[in-house]
Amino acid sequence: MFRTVLIANRGEVALRIQRACRTLGLRTIAVHSTEDAEAPHVRHADAAFCIGPAPARRSYLDQTAILFATEVSGAEAIHPGYGFLSENAGFARRVEAAGLTFIGPASASIATMGDKIAARNAMREAGISCVPGSDGPLPDEAAAAMELALRIGYPVLIKATAGGGGRGMRVVAGPSDLAPALALTKEEARQAFGNDAVYLEKLLEHPRHVEIQVLADHHGHAVWLGSRDCSLQRRHQKVLEEAPAPGIDEGIIAEMGERCAAACRRTGYRGLGTFEFLVEDGRFYFIEMNTRLQVEHCVTEMITGIDLVQWQIRVAQGEKLDLAQRDIRCTGHAFESRINAEHPGTFAPSPGRVAAWDLPGGPGVRVDTHVSQGSVISRHYDSLIAKLVVHGSTRADTLARLQLALDEMRVGGIATNLDLHRAIVRDPDFVAGGVDIHHLERRLAEGGLR
């Protein structure tokens, strides 16, 4: 049992974790870069340590600096949040080796799920289907790849084993492009990840991104907490999420949810996790598992009424999950708009001082943010400045609340994507529900959503 948690992160998620710790009576230790000396996660923590200069590589990503801060602060557990070191198996292993609690799964689980091929194999063993493709790294002979691609059917996707988040992928439309694309992707992967293993996958043409949230304890219990739809993406970055995923038969979701929970029990997974799927024509294809708290966890919290971060910490403390699957009821609908400091046309980050900051309110409105008037948005970190989360009884009601909330929100001094969100929530296809993962980019390419 730990009493003091070091939060190895910044921004809204650091505040979110602090809140969860407080509700459990735990002490919080903040770490920060010189740039974040005045940040709210620093001000609100029980103790705070500056661990390095502004670049994340030398502060929030510096494992030595964070572990040194843990030593000096006497923290017994580390919460990595999302991003930064949250899915770094080596870091988790070091935390374990130090006799500390890593608030997340065991490092071995992170390592397995971080290896795309190992993850696919683990899922297949658990009865969860994956996108058709090579069931391992492609052999060096181009002929074998050609044969496989033909069997899967073009278009196909080449993916680096060590890649992720859209990095290390290439679409191949037909047989004549395969060999050069393969060579190029391998070379890129070797340079970017130091590992040139690639695999092949069928490219789904109109898939949706649907994910299942799971929560597992150390005692072999695991539950799933509904679905989320995160199809609205730009360059593989999620822009707006909702829960539950609209227009998918509840029975299918429940079946997938059960399989995900069963996979957790089977693999001894513990903590929060997300199984991400591509869904096309009612079929679920596993793509990857996120072994951490996710940005969009809030929409699940809204529909289930469960404090996910608090539970994540409680199971890390060894507590038994006293939630049975039948206790988990999803009510209503929830959306999350990720408000970023970025230029509307170019999507380039827009750092600077926040001159004006008016937040929306009203029933079912929740804003998770670390920003306030006068805050300075740093160019060193990601551009997320707020998560606008709304909850309502039906998708239509909730969407109306989201439209209103987005209209109420005012940010001055920096550019934001608020207008993009305002346009999205009025987009007829989005309003209808069930758009695919290419929808947003397609609309933007058409010059829509302006």
């Binding site: 510096d62 494992q63 030595t64 572990l67 040194f68 030593e71 080796a97």
Partner: protein, 327 residues
Amino acid sequence: MIEILSETPLATVQDLGRFGLLNQGVGTSGAMDPLALAAGNLLLGNEADAAAIEVQVFPFAVRFHEPCAFAVTGADCAARLQDQPVLPWWAGQAAAGDSLTLRRPEGGTWRGSRAYVCVAGGFAVPPVLGSRSTQLRGAFGGHEGRALRQGDRLAAGAPGTGNRPTGFGLVPPAFAMPLQREGCTAVRVLPAAEYERFTKAAHEALWSAEWKITPHSDRYGYRLAGPSLRPTAPIELRSHGIVPGVIQIPHGGQPIVQMRDAQPSGGYPKIGTVIEADLWRLGQAPIGSRIRFVACTWDEAVAAFEETERWAARVRRLAALHAERGT
């Protein structure tokens, strides 16, 4: 190559000891302060049990004939590399021709009696029967099975400038894991077979007296001076295996604590045994200083053993973290 410059006697090459040969009559040998030896090695990225020089008579000096990373741990002996001070429990980098000098340990906040000079890769003396420690009685192991002499030359396992940082150190375990009673170094003791055959007065004296470490104390054993401990009746024992830490009471009634070079068998009555986790405290207690014995339970002894293991693991982990980031 590292050359011994001083004429000071009794410095030996030691590691953490030679185990598994008690039944061949071979005692364990090894560092009198195994924590200091392990710490010096871990500072340099060596295995914890790499061979080092144990220095117990000062001043002591060596010359590096090639660049080499080194560490000095144990007693604070105001080490100097050429004319530059080297902090206690510290790793440094020597250039070819540099001499390292250790002076007699003085007061300060903790007075030790033995210092360890560790080098990158450990001293490359040949292992004998699984260890590089010097077996003085058997005249094997270490450097030619004997104490070091002026002019001896020893090779470091990994000389050079390396890519591991030096110029950092450790908090000595005397501070990380202090154990004192009424101003004296204390060591925890488990009662041994003949404990009950001593008088009540002997029991009281054992736990309450200050025991002075007499000049007849060395790597073989510490002869202590204090109240006379008497058995209720004369005890004659058959020979049996013994280990470092056993407190024997010969006829005179003055305890002898077996240390690292102790023979592996004996027949004097045993009143208790200093637990393994506290032998380093005794190994550093200077002649003339006073110690106290503290009764402990098996569970406490196990916990103390694990505490020293955790300490060493923490040193290894943090030194590696620091080394990884570089300087």
